[in-house]
Amino acid sequence: MTSAAISSASAAGQPAPAGRADGRIDCDVLVIGGGSTGAGVARDAAMRGFSTVLVERADMATGTTGRFHGLLHSGGRYVVKDPKAAQECIGENIILRRIADDCIEDTGGLFVTTPIDDPGYADRFIQGCKATGIEVQEIGVAEALRREPRLNPRISRALVVPDATVDAWKMVWSCVRSATQYGATVLPYHEVISVIRDGSRVAGAVVRGPGGELRIRAEVVINAAGAWAGKIAAMAGCEVKVRPGKGIMVATNHRLVNTVVNRCEMPADGDILVPIRTVSVIGTTDTLVDDPDDWPISRQEIDEMLTAGENLVPGFRESRTLRVWGGVRPLFQDEGPAETRDVTRAHAVLDHRARDGVEAFLTITGGKFCTYRLMAQDAVDAACGVLGTSRPCRTADEPLPDSGEQKFYRIGSRLAGRERTLHDEQLICECELVRRGALEEAIARRGAASLDDIRRALRLGMGPCQGGFCTYRATGILHQATNLSAAEANRALLEFLQERWKGLHPLLHGDQLRQAWLDDWIFQGVLDVEHLPLAEQERARV
């Protein structure tokens, strides 16, 4: 694996963290965690002029951020149960539409009263929206069905709210690009192995990356490790109870709706159907798990998701399902209730000096994707406090790279883009219309040897065939474009197949099973990948 640092090399004139060559970096702010919150914090801190380093144990946005349904809440979901969270959502929804339009598709959202819902909830919902400042409009059932013909025709009410969908990977990488433009150093694949303490003060962290260990000293350390924040806090000698709440999601092969569809009811399992990029995602569940890194997905849970989908869109069960995955929410509560839905979705900044007597160490936890920017703002405000300075936050005003022109993402844009290069360029991932140039550019930009990292940047292998036709092509191109040995390229291929299999095997049936078997025919029958030459240690890893 080549070093995957995204540094300030391209950002001339900005204050960069010092050091590096001798395995040491000194900076003002060290951010631990490369999810949306960490990326947001890094951007915010860098924009306020702090020299900033972000470390992430894997690739960016691979924890909870990259594993959700893609809904940019209007806040409607929380209006009755958690008005504070609802208010935060709508506030951030409006800001993100302004600063991150390139990452957002303006799908709009519908809350519909299905036959199994409390008919009275809709009125409380409308009141809640009014109280929290969420624009809401009731439309007739016929109009709702005209807009979304597949909706359950037995719905009794339909309410329109400004929900949208968001590409979390794009959002995080946009924050990373912006942060590095402001001088930050972002280090994916750098795992914290210890927290440096100077007496009562946290003074940085030791991280292990592809190039060995790095000792990063910082004036303040911000723990933005999400569901893993408890583990990081423990390294600093603090106790933070983050309860990992598992939610699973199932993607269909194509969009069944083009608007976010929510059940108009108190939040429950499987009550949202989100059109995100080329698929619809039904979600989600909410169960406490002990370890954020180890939890299975059962057929029973998948079956419940399909039943929930059927309630929103009749015929859902017969639709092809591509994949199942889960994410773990960082639910923060010191004295937690048993039901995770009862834990607040609001976030908290913990200053461990007051709480645990540990200085220069902050934990930002709780919250959800759509409030990541606000969370970052609160965390960096607190960091300013630690550093004894006051610098205003500007992230609500300055658009992210490629955004700021109110040009929301449109699903047809890739098709239009492909149309322009039909004869000039190869199409590598046919399902998701990934062109060769885009692939080569991503490989060069990331210097990455992992096809899975490329996948998140481009959606490579995320369509119906789940990599069946593009994995060999992409491996060949990766092998050529980098200086990988064939053995390393082989490993990249087999790891990608394993990663794809992870989301497939719990739900394989019907059309997707036929696809998986054709894919196996390609890999095992035609290419014989099970006998690929690997270096010994690589064979052990795969």
Binding site: L427, Y472, I477, H479, Q480, L493, D520
Partner: protein
């Protein structure tokens, strides 16, 4: 009103037009039977490398399928090969070689060749097109793997490097290196395998390739090409290319769609047509037609209308999980999609799939079980119907891709299914 509207009778209806179905249909039609092949679409043979792999791994690498099969079958009593005698296997291989006009199929069940795949793994195959046989790594010393810039489904650098490593691991001194060719493609950057095959039939294009190669080749180097060396005229393309560069040339199968698969499908379809066999494309078998307690034919749907095809025999060659011959629901419930015959899959309570991609998934061997005459059997081991014969991937008990046995099973069972019918017909 016609009393029998929508029914037309045949001696045999063959369901499916892959390797197994076409083999059975051609053999029956050539024997003078009235045969109707009904296919939902063009069969998966068009995706296949079109090498007749009999047994490549079982689980260790097999050098001689003929020698390995008795022990393999003893260890896998429900494997389709349990119904195939060595003599029948040999007959089916000879039969195939006699039915492909475009070029020769070479090899037999006594020894496997080791032919490179498109990623450079030497893969055991028994009977292959003559254009591929030169790729046996044990007979190569020095090879250039030739890629075509506009072909995204073949990566010569990766294939060459892997081939070198694999040969070295097997104690062979093989020097393999990539050569990337850029013959003119009328400005098209993304050219598919079939399109390249057609271009190779143009002498001008071939000349451009040969000229580029001559400049790039070293002495004594054989040349491995993606399998796109012509479609209708493969033999002359291959021969002339070898003459033009003065080196041996061999083909390496590519990702689907596969030109060698299309050549083979076309050859068998042509034979079927010449023998008077009928082909109904775009219609799907949806169930058995039972009359007087006997299977009298099959119900076929095209559009909104269902019709009946009456037949004395039915050959079920609809394929396995990949082709929809076997369908599986979320809970694991499985059905044979055309006639509703009993399916043998993972035991209830057993996980269908394991977490490792390359694990041996219990679902992998799902399919029908058959008796020695290829009649599908029920739980009691007795034939469900006397006049249904199963052939190809619809029969379970095998792991064709892992064993490298796919088209060997399809060819031999297709051939045998026809044999059973011909015996019964007298």
């Amino acid at each position: 009103m016609t009393a029998q509207a929508g029914t037309r009778a045949a001696d045999a209806v063959v369901l499916g037009a892959g390797m197994a179905g076409l083999t059975a249909a051609v053999r029956l039609a050539e024997a003078g039977l009235r045969v109707v092949t009904v296919a939902k679409g063009l069969g998966s043979l068009r995706l296949a490398p079109a090498t007749i792999d009999i047994l490549g791994y079982g689980p260790g690498r097999v050098d001689s399928p003929a020698e390995a099969l008795p022990a393999f079958v003893a260890a896998h009593p429900h494997h389709p090969y349990a119904a195939v005698t060595p003599g029948a296997l040999a007959d089916s291989l000879r039969w195939l070689a006699g039915h492909v006009d475009a070029y020769a199929y070479v090899g037999d069940a006594s020894a496997n060749m080791l032919l490179p795949t498109a990623i450079g793994v030497p893969r055991p195959s028994a009977v292959v097109p003559e254009t591929m046989a030169g790729g046996d790594i044990r007979s190569l010393r020095c090879v250039a793997i030739a890629g075509l810039r506009a072909l995204k489904d073949f990566h010569p650098a990766l294939a060459a490097e892997n081939l070198r490593a694999a040969a070295a691991a097997g104690g062979l001194a093989l020097d393999a290196r990539p050569v990337l060719l850029s013959p003119p493609t009328d400005g098209e950057a993304d050219v598919g395998t079939l399109s390249f095959a057609r271009r190779f039939e143009d002498p001008g294009f071939r000349g451009a390739v040969a000229a580029e190669l001559r400049a790039a080749l070293r002495d004594e180097e054989a040349v491995g090409f993606p399998a796109v060396l012509g479609f209708d005229q493969v033999r002359s393309v291959w021969t002339e290319l070898q003459e033009a560069i003065g080196r041996p040339v061999f083909e390496i199968p590519t990702m689907p769609p596969s030109v060698p698969g299309m050549r083979l499908a076309r050859a068998l379809q042509e034979r079927l047509r010449r023998a008077g066999g009928r082909f109904v494309l775009g219609a799907q078998a949806v169930g058995p037609e039972i009359r007087d307690g006997r299977l009298a034919g099959v119900r076929i749907r095209a559009g909104t209308r269902e019709t009946v095809r009456l037949a004395r025999w039915i050959v079920l060659a609809t394929g396995g999980l990949a082709s929809g011959g076997i369908e599986v629901e979320l809970g694991g419930a499985a059905r044979e999609s055309a006639l509703g015959l009993p399916v043998f899959g993972p035991d209830p309570g057993e996980p269908a799939f394991l977490p490792g991609y390359l694990d041996e998934h219990p679902m992998g061997t799902i399919g029908l079980r058959v008796d020695a005459r290829l009649r599908p059997v029920g739980r009691d081991g007795e034939p469900v119907r006397q006049n249904v014969l199963a052939a190809g991937a619809v029969i379970g008990g095998a792991r064709p891709w892992r064993e490298k046995s796919g088209d060997g099973i399809s060819l031999s069972t297709g051939y045998l299914a026809a044999g059973t019918i011909l015996e019964d017909a007298g």
